[in-house]
Symmetry: C2
Subunit: 397 residues, 2 copies
């Protein structure tokens, strides 16, 4: 059986196959492997957004804050995301950007740690914003930032560690870090841990509650398909909520926000992590986008994700001349997220040529071709075509 035939068989057997029709994808002849940067548009969103704009804003206006449920959207949508990351309800709130949430989470974590612990450990290969914000959090809480290679995290954790900030999946290589093991190691060292789930939420089981994670932050416009710049989410484990002391105590997190008291009193629960007025249009687009998850077990998503990346690597191996690309994505399933990253000469130009031929991935400086596999809508035929076109582009150079 050749690879196109194998792709066809795999697609036929795919339990998630029907989900693709719930996205706006087949109007153009594109293989979209950049859903780990911006998820495709779920078909429910345009109609819902038209209603939000024309009726909720246009007709009900101010009344929508109560009558259309705008005010409670951050908690409500948080609860919709919660099961996808293994959290019981009441622990996730949506709003603000990932960067702002990392600041809240990390400062909050440091403030819950023993005062004599003076270090914040951060994954040195992290997505840059995590490191920049961690540096600001360290500066503003009087701690020292300790950037370490993810392989050195366990040894870096110790009696001086207040908190650690770690990426679940490395944005460049696609390496999946050991969330249960590192969380346990942080706790054994007496430290708190903040996980960045940007590249795992919606791609694989996270198990926040099961693994006793302290705080976590994630993006909603990648595997959760919330739309460009849709608000991020923040998880604060239930038993830590009463001690969560936000550096951004805006009026939306007040116990009685409409009491207009000059004295701040933090609300109970996850909504303590809210700040200002939520960006309703972006937030309700996300809520509509989350409908595609109805009835989808995240374990099925993980199974398909691994099958897709395995198959793509098989096709790359079969189609490409040896030595022209090098995969930097781990082979063991236990260490792999939902993307494949190939190191390649002239990667920027190669990605440009791929996009021109309808295969959309992205280029990461300086030499990485990144292909994201979003199991709700990427098919095995997509994977085969992507590898085939990549081989054509590489051979023609």
């Amino acid at each position: 059986m050749n690879l196109p035939e194998k792709a066809s068989k795999l697609d036929e057997a795919d339990a998630l196959r029907g989900k693709r029709a719930e996205f706006v994808l087949d109007e153009d002849d594109t293989v979209y492997l950049d859903g780990n940067s911006l998820g495709a548009l779920p078909a429910t969103v345009p109609t819902r957004m038209a209603d939000v704009v024309a009726r909720e804003w246009g007709r009900l206006r101010i009344r929508s804050w109560t009558e259309s449920g705008w005010w409670t959207a951050p908690e409500r949508i948080g609860d919709r995301i919660a099961p996808l990351v293994g959290a019981a309800s009441g622990q996730v709130v949506v709003g603000d950007s990932t960067s702002v949430n990392i600041f809240k989470a990390l400062v909050g974590a440091v403030r819950m740690a023993d005062a004599e612990r003076d270090e914040i450990v951060v994954d040195a290969t992290t997505f840059p914003t995590d490191g920049y914000i961690a540096e600001s959090a360290a500066r503003m809480t009087g701690r020292r930032l300790v950037p370490v290679d993810p392989g050195q995290l366990r040894t870096a954790l110790g009696p001086r560690t207040a908190a650690a900030l770690v990426n679940h999946v490395d944005y460049r290589s696609g390496r999946l870090h050991d969330l249960p093991g590192l969380t346990a190691a942080a706790h054994a060292a007496g430290a708190l841990v903040v996980w960045d789930l940007c590249h795992s939420a919606g791609a694989l089981p996270v198990g926040l509650d099961a693994h006793g994670v302290d705080l976590a932050v994630g993006c909603t416009y990648k595997y959760l398909n919330g739309g460009p710049g849709s608000p991020a989410f923040l998880y604060v484990r239930r038993d830590l909520q009463a001690g969560f002391d936000s550096p951004l105590p805006g009026w939306n997190s007040h116990r009685d926000p409409f009491g207009m008291s000059p004295r701040y009193e933090a609300a109970d629960g996850a909504l303590r992590a809210r700040v200002g007025t939520p960006d309703i249009l972006s937030m309700l687009a996300l809520e509509a986008a989350l409908e595609v998850w109805d009835g989808v077990p995240i374990e099925a998503v993980r199974d398909k994700s691994l099958a897709l990346t395995d198959f793509f690597l098989e096709c790359v191996e079969a189609y490409l001349p040896a030595g022209r690309v090098e995969s930097i994505t781990p082979v063991p399933h236990t260490d792999r997220g939902s993307q494949v990253a190939l190191r390649c000469a002239d990667a920027g130009e190669v990605m440009g040529a791929l996009i021109a031929r309808g295969v959309v991935g992205d280029f990461r400086h300086p030499d990485v071709l990144r292909f994201g596999f979003t199991p709700l809508y990427v098919s095995f035929a997509d994977a085969e075509r992507a590898a085939r076109v990549l081989a054509e582009v590489i051979s023609s150079r």
Copy 2:
């Protein structure tokens, strides 16, 4: 001439009269005097949002970050707002909530002040979130928060003041504070000043550049009609930008954001105040909403605003039994924003009855009826009807 006739004459002579048709307002029989809380829907927005969702997100997907100008939206929309607040281009950036921007601005201001200055002065009657965030900024920069009555601001400013945070218009009373005078007083004391323009941007001339304001923050969903929770804006005066040291140095504010360097280097210009990925849907709705300002001089808006609030107060005086309400909005034009606040027994119930009769204002705890006059779409006939219905409601109680 009775008051309805006078309203009719005033409407006929209104230079901004044609603007009302650019909003979605006349489908229902409502007098909307809550545009200082959520501006009405500009008619340009629904079509633009449909295109953003279906074509820019749905079809172009990731390509829209460059091809649809998403990446540069924060600065581009900032430049669209700039003339409305008297700022030359390159000094205003849009993104994040008002609360988050107050944190950036106030911490940034304190860091630019002499290190021995250990106080942050804040308007004690401010909208609560300003005070809460100022308290966090003081705590995180090792300063002492000094809340004072706005009347005492001048005397509170001194050699210990690092920065002051002041509201341009008081959200409850509608009092307009003396921005030129207080800015000059802060500078004379060697301090920086951050102005909160939430209730003045789009309602009256602000003159940021002319008055040498240091930093300013404002809301876009009130008089700028950007939609529920649309992103706020931040002004950093050009000559201060190189020294602006953000407490939220997210990757969007990096000099080379796609270089993915682990080392933070702040970009030049207003975009140094950006943080994470902007909420594109909310942001582009705002951009479309700003089209209604084309060709509208802010001075004409101010003239109409004062005429509307004068006329509303005249109608209230004529229609209501003496002593049943008390205006807490200043009479002198120099001290008045674009709203009228009436103190009234049972204000919550009275506002409920008004809304039931199609006159939408809002209630501010504990005893204030607040009526916002948004000159682009509120008519003198609206003002007359609002006062008349208020008199009916009060008389029937």
